[in-house]
């Protein structure tokens, strides 16, 4: 029961935290974006693999909000060919120049603040901390920004009765997590929270209106 209570408290904190401030979307709406260019990610974490790994998670949530998203890997390669292989350089370039290069309406900049796994005696805490900014290609104004921190530590559900056994199970899990921390689910959660939460994420784009979901399975509802 204690766990349930904690869970509820945690959830309500998360909910209120994310809903407390309703963002101002006037500039975003006025910009009338159709396409978003996601440029390589700036890395302030200690993990050198973080930027590329993160890049693989970011297209889906933005495209699913109804925007055309430029192919992230191709964009990265083209920028590298243009001498912009350093993400910091890309982020310091004028937004309008980047948009001109690709014909994009806006640029999404992401900065990875944390991407680490900390060993804490009987548990390993995996943390992902991200700052997102969308800037207008015409004016260079910031249209939207968000900051997400996600923390995960594996919990042992088995209560074997013996505290020692439980402790051992937890320690083993912590070691496994530390050896090969899986950041992707955390990054995906952070992205989902950042982009899709109502009153907090980005407003639906041009492809969002007709919910085009002609599934592979035949439609059961009669279309007449």
């Amino acid at each position: 029961m204690q766990v349930l209570k904690k869970f509820i408290i945690l959830l309500s904190i998360m909910m209120t935290a994310s809903c407390a401030v309703q963002k101002d979307y006037s500039k975003f709406r006025a910009a009338n974006l159709r396409s978003i260019l996601i440029v390589p990610v700036v890395n302030r974490s200690v993990d050198v693999t973080a930027p590329e790994y993160f890049l693989s998670t970011i297209s889906i949530p933005v495209a699913e909000q109804g925007y055309y998203v430029f192919p992230v890997n191709l964009v990265k390669r083209v920028l590298e060919d243009d001498g912009l292989s350093d993400a910091d350089l890309v982020h310091s370039a004028p937004t309008s120049k980047l948009c001109d290069l690709f014909g994009a309406d806006a640029v999404l900049y992401v900065s990875i603040e944390r991407w680490d796994a900390q060993y804490m005696i009987v548990t390993t805490q995996v943390t992902v901390d991200l700052i997102y900014t969308i800037k207008d290609g015409k004016t260079g104004d910031t249209l939207w920004e968000d900051h997400q921190t996600m923390v995960y530590s594996p919990q042992s559900n088995q209560n074997s009765g013996s505290p020692m056994a439980t402790l051992i199970v937890m320690a083993v899990q912590a070691a496994i997590t530390k050896a090969d921390p899986n950041y992707l689910p955390l990054a995906q959660q952070a992205n989902a929270k950042a982009f899709t939460y109502p009153g907090h994420g980005i407003p639906p784009g041009p492809y969002a209106t007709p919910i085009a979901t002609p599934n592979t399975t035949p439609n059961t509802t009669p279309t007449q």
Partner: protein, 127 residues
């Protein structure tokens, strides 16, 4: 206690409703790209999976944005410029937002093709 459960159910429904349907047939595109960055030597796997995403997406007409271009670039990297152009053109046709970028990529591919042709025609007479 009942209230607590109702509250939980409501929250869970909200969370679930957010991830029921996807607009596009991504087919684990995120994992595909992740694996490619993790094992850059296994480019063939990446190429095969992109091909599968396209074939699968074309059935339902839900090929995600950027995928044709990404796939086209895998040909470009291997020097198969004519194939690259086919997929850059597909991206161009499907997504108006991609056009100015795709025009550049197509012209790059054409230029590279010319250079390639010149090189091969240069080497032929010497043989």
């Amino acid at each position: 206690m009942n209230k607590v459960y109702i509250f939980l159910i409501v929250i869970i429904t909200i969370f679930l409703s957010g991830c029921v349907t996807k607009r596009y047939a991504w087919n684990n595109y995120d994992d595909t790209l992740y694996q490619y960055y993790k094992n850059p030597n296994e480019a063939e796997v990446f190429i095969e999976k992109l091909d599968a995403i396209i074939k699968n997406g074309e059935v339902s007409g839900t090929v995600p944005p950027g995928i044709y271009a990404e796939y086209g670039y895998t040909f470009y990297e291997r020097g198969q410029y004519s194939d690259a152009i086919i997929y850059f053109q597909k991206e161009y046709d499907k997504w108006p937002e991609s056009r100015s970028f795709m025009i550049k990529m197509i012209s790059n591919a054409k230029n590279q093709n010319k250079i390639k042709d010149q090189k091969t025609s240069d080497t032929i007479p010497t043989q």
